[in-house]
């Protein structure tokens, strides 16, 4: 048994069977820790299955706000015999294996270096309940009650969460309280507790929230004024539209007429979903679709049309493991290149890359302004880890003075005042032309939208010069876009570091933690978190200012590195790959090890690494 206690710093994993109601109990567990003022990071590790296969819920507790995934399980709650062998193996030496001991544990599950805590969960439920469904559901609540005793979760916090969950179904409150108590009492009678891994109330959460990225994205779309959502179901993006539907039902039904100030269409495929978004935004409504990698593949043709014909569109890509069906319930950042250059021909697409629910909300709301101002598709690159897991996040904010920026849209009055309207005429010198919405003016401002070449007045032409002028203007617009998109976040070290790390999206948490680990080893790194594409000047400056940059990403082919090299014409030797692509969220241990190894290995070869770089 571990001698000294570890307060607010451990990883606990629940091994459950998919479809047995464990999710709500596990969520309650994580929320209770959050309510105790302690940073917490839960992750669903689930199969592509509805019922029966193993599923895990992994919760990292860390009061330093290191909320990326950490390898090694300190406590395992195993209620799934199917995965028990694997579960026993995944616990760290000295850790705790908490299991249902209604039947004795087979020899093969015994490791000498683990502590075993058996709770007769099945037996208790058989004694207490007659309905098989109740037995299944309350088993989950009982183990949460047991954990309350084992790791010091405040019981009144759990009870309060039960009260909130069953508000309106008061009959269920008492039985759930009772189930919590059953687990608690069993531990109290049979084990010394709390365990060395335990919780202690803190005041670190302040006004932060615990929220899923996909729901935050959906809420951002509501706030950003989206009225049309067209989509095709695909994991892990489905919950974006599900949440949009829920929020819309609450906030977008006209109280007087009872009519919907929104429309949601489940399309026949992702092609159609993208077509609907383009049609709606062409016609002046704000519209979006949400999908994942396979859907982005299907949307390529339409994204090229929207780029070339300059039609606003918003696409949320919640990335998962590719290629093809890949591992559909595992996370990855591997759609960077397909999104950045979506479609055939010379295309460049605007990317927004959030790292938190707050940014999911902000970027989703902002994406409609950007798409309309820039008259081009905007792709929000989220991922499964961010989208489908709860994250501790800054509270969401909205200014009452916020007004939607519709960009250069001409009204009937404006059309009367100007001379000949040129849809693709660069009047302002920023590469962004003026557009009109159908139905604006009886005789002025109509034009033909097409994916084929045309002149500045939207007249079809196969004149190579006119085509080239248009393509060049689109490049000019691309330059303008750089000043519109969110700037990167910079983390400067105190020592004037000559090396940096570059990361984006959900690699953020583990990268920041790795940076601290490395600093303790004496390796100081500056850091930059990309938040958008095209890359703004700050990104070029950061790369320019450092001799070596570790590019951290969650894909096999170092796609962001490729994009940086291509766009900024960086010497490839300067950008070192730090990759993770097993479908699990990247860890700080992995990042710091890779960087540390690289530096030591290179130093062995060349005593003065920085001199070598300067000379090259």
């Amino acid at each position: 048994m571990q001698a000294h206690s570890v307060i607010n710093d451990f990883v606990i994993r629940f091994a459950n069977v998919n479809g047995t109601g464990s999710a709500s109990a596990n969520n309650m567990f994580a929320k209770a820790i959050f309510r105790m003022g302690i940073p917490v990071s839960p992750k669903n590790i689930f199969p592509s299955n509805i019922q029966g296969l193993p599923t895990w819920y992994e919760v990292r507790v860390n009061e330093q706000f290191y909320l990326g995934r950490r390898d090694g399980i300190d406590l395992m709650i195993c209620v799934n015999p199917q995965s028990m062998l694997q579960d026993v193996a995944s616990v760290k030496s000295g850790g705790y294996f908490i299991y249902d001991n209604t039947k004795p544990l087979h020899k093969e599950y015994i490791r000498e270096d683990l502590n075993y805590i058996g709770i007769p969960l099945t037996e208790i439920t058989i004694q207490e309940y007659t309905d098989p469904r109740q037995r299944m559901l309350f088993k989950n609540i009982i183990y949460v009650g047991a954990l309350a005793a084992l790791i010091d979760i405040e019981m009144d916090v759990l009870q309060q969460l039960v009260n909130e969950q069953f508000k309106g179904k008061e009959k269920l409150i008492q039985p759930n309280h009772h189930a919590l108590d059953l687990g608690y009492q069993y531990i109290q009678k049979n084990f010394s507790h709390p365990l060395p891994y335990r919780l202690q109330r803190r005041d670190l959460i302040k006004d932060k929230i615990l929220f899923e990225g996909n729901a935050a994205t959906a809420l951002g779309a509501i706030y950003g004024g989206a009225t049309v959502a067209a989509w095709y179901p695909i994991t892990p993006s489905t919950s974006v539209v599900d949440a949009f539907a829920d929020y819309a039902a609450e906030y977008r039904v006209d109280p007087e007429t009872n009519e919907n100030n929104y429309a949601i269409v489940q399309a026949e495929d992702e092609l159609s979903a993208m077509g609907m978004v383009i049609g709606a935004m062409w016609n002046g409504a704000r519209a979006f679709t949400a999908t994942s990698g396979p859907g982005v593949s299907l949307m390529q043709e339409f994204l090229g049309l929207a780029y070339f014909a300059e039609i606003p569109a918003v696409l949320v890509d919640v990335q998962r493991t590719g290629p093809s069906t890949g591992m559909p319930t595992r996370t990855q950042q591997s759609d960077i290149l397909i999104a950045a250059h979506a479609s055939h021909g010379d295309t460049k697409q605007v990317l927004l890359i959030p790292n938190s629910p707050k940014e999911c909300f902000d970027f989703a709301a902002m994406s409609f302004d950007l798409a309309e101002q820039l008259q081009t598709p905007v792709i929000i690159l989220s991922d499964l880890d961010l989208g489908m897991n709860d994250h501790v996040s800054d509270a969401l904010e909205w200014k009452s003075t916020t007004q939607y920026r519709r960009g250069k849209v001409l009204s009937a009055d404006q059309l009367d005042q100007i001379g000949r309207f040129g849809r693709y005429l660069d009047t302002d010198g920023d590469g962004i032309p003026y557009r009109t919405i159908p139905g604006t003016h009886p005789t002025k401002g109509s034009f033909f939208t097409r994916g084929s070449s045309r002149d500045e007045y939207a007249i079809y032409t196969e004149d190579g010069n006119a085509y080239k002028r248009n393509m060049d203007r689109l490049l000019k617009k691309w330059e303008t876009i750089k000043s519109y998109v969110p700037k990167p976040e910079l983390l400067q070290s105190e020592a004037n570091a000559n090396m940096g790390m570059l990361f984006f999206g959900t690699s953020h948490f583990s990268s920041v933690e790795a940076r601290d680990i490395l600093a303790k080893e004496g390796i100081e790194l500056d850091a930059i978190r990309l938040r958008s594409f095209p890359f703004s000047q700050e990104v070029s400056d950061f790369i320019e200012d450092h001799e070596l940059i570790f590019v951290i990403e969650q894909n096999r082919d170092a796609q962001m590195r490729t994009l940086l090299i291509n766009e900024l014409e960086v010497n490839p030797e300067k950008l070192v790959r730090v990759l993770n692509y097993d479908g699990m969220p990247i860890t700080a241990a992995h990042i710091s090890k890779e960087i540390s190894n690289y530096i030591h290995k290179t130093n062995k070869k060349s005593k003065d690494f920085s001199l070598e770089m300067n000379a090259s």
């Binding site: 006004d207 269409v265 709606a280 043709e301 009886p442 109509s446």
Partner: protein, 350 residues
């Protein structure tokens, strides 16, 4: 190129009740082959919109890719147009219609665009009953890529090069009937007398309205042995009825012979007057419409005219209960729940 359009028009040409001349409904010069059936359909569309007193800017015309999909450039020059991607016009039109239910939507497609690459979108457009007039300019071949058979080419039909089509054709009105379309018609580009009132009725229909217009390709599919040639179609055409469209509020002057006539009232108060040529056919009865189609088919005839109309059609907006005010006119105030609601949402996440 079909013809050179004179810019001069007689000053005393008639105007419609909006004060527009027919010229105000025209578009740019057609670049299709001289004699192309599609140009006749464009002409019929111009005439129908002129006579219906449609404000040109209140109509949006959308198309896919192909010869047919080029035509929206050649009519309604004061309307916004959208030449989208091959086979995907239905989805773009759906989005556009969702954004603004107050415009009139005209979708123009071809047999390749609809019956092959765009079949999925066509089918689901019908399923959703989008309020759109969907015209297929059907010539049984791929004109822009020089005459390959399309999926609507009849089995046994001969191409210009002499090869015989081996495959079953897809009959679009038959398919639309199976899918529950609320307005199904077929016509022939060479029969404006029939086509113009059908277009008017389709535009007035509050939901999906298909007009499959056989439109011979003079360059690649007008040869002997082709079942989509002018001669073949003229010889095999068999109409359900002669059609007259009586717009809302117009006075009905004609008297009808009992038995052979049928009046169909439209949602907006307009009337379709049919002088029935098919004995046991009722355009408001699905079974009899399907029967009429099958019967004509087995006799080797091309059944034209109005085939079916559902007077109770409910379009996508009605099904979704969307706001009567077009979604693209809603303001921040109506769309954004504001900072106070957000504070409550935050509180619920703590």
């Amino acid at each position: 190129m079909s013809y050179i359009k004179p810019s001069f028009r007689h000053p005393e040409l008639p105007v419609n009740t909006l004060g527009y001349k027919r010229k105000d409904y025209e578009g740019s010069l057609s670049t299709l082959c001289a004699g192309c059936g599609h140009d006749s359909i464009s002409g019929a569309l111009i005439q129908a919109c002129f006579e219906l007193n449609i404000e040109p800017h209140r109509l949006a015309k959308l198309s896919g890719i192909g010869c047919s999909s080029k035509t929206p450039t050649y009519f309604l020059g004061n309307s916004h147009g959208f030449n989208s991607v091959h086979g995907r016009m239905p989805s773009v039109a759906t989005g556009a219609n969702l954004a603004n239910r107050d415009l009139i939507y005209l979708g123009v497609s071809g047999d390749g665009d609809t019956a092959s690459i765009g079949m999925g979108q066509f089918v689901h457009l019908i399923r959703r009953n989008l309020n759109i007039t969907y015209i297929v300019m059907n010539n049984g071949c791929y004109g822009l890529t020089k005459g390959q058979d399309s999926a609507t080419a009849d089995k046994g039909s001969k191409s210009k090069a002499g090869s015989t089509n081996l495959f079953q054709n897809i009959d679009l009105p038959g398919l639309a009937m199976e899918l529950g379309a609320g307005f199904v018609a077929r016509s022939f580009s060479g029969d404006k007398v029939q086509l113009i009132p059908l277009i008017k009725a389709a535009l007035a229909h509050p939901g999906f309205a298909l007009i499959d217009v056989i439109s011979p390709c003079v360059t690649f599919n007008n040869n002997v042995g082709s079942t989509k040639s002018y001669d073949y179609v003229r010889q095999h055409v068999d109409a359900t009825a002669t059609v007259d469209f009586v717009p809302h509020a117009a006075e009905i002057k004609t008297t009808y012979e009992a038995g052979s006539n049928k009046l169909v009232s439209m949602h907006d108060g307009s009337l379709i007057k049919l002088n029935k040529l098919q004995a046991d056919w009722d355009p408001t009865n699905r079974d009899s419409a399907v029967h009429a189609l099958h019967e004509a088919n087995s006799k080797g005839e091309i059944l034209t005219g109005l085939i079916y109309i559902n007077e109770e059609s409910q379009d996508l907006h009605q099904l979704l209960n969307t706001s009567k005010k077009p979604l693209n006119t809603l303001s921040e105030k109506q769309l954004c729940p504001g900072p106070e609601a957000l504070m409550d949402i935050n509180q619920g996440l703590r």
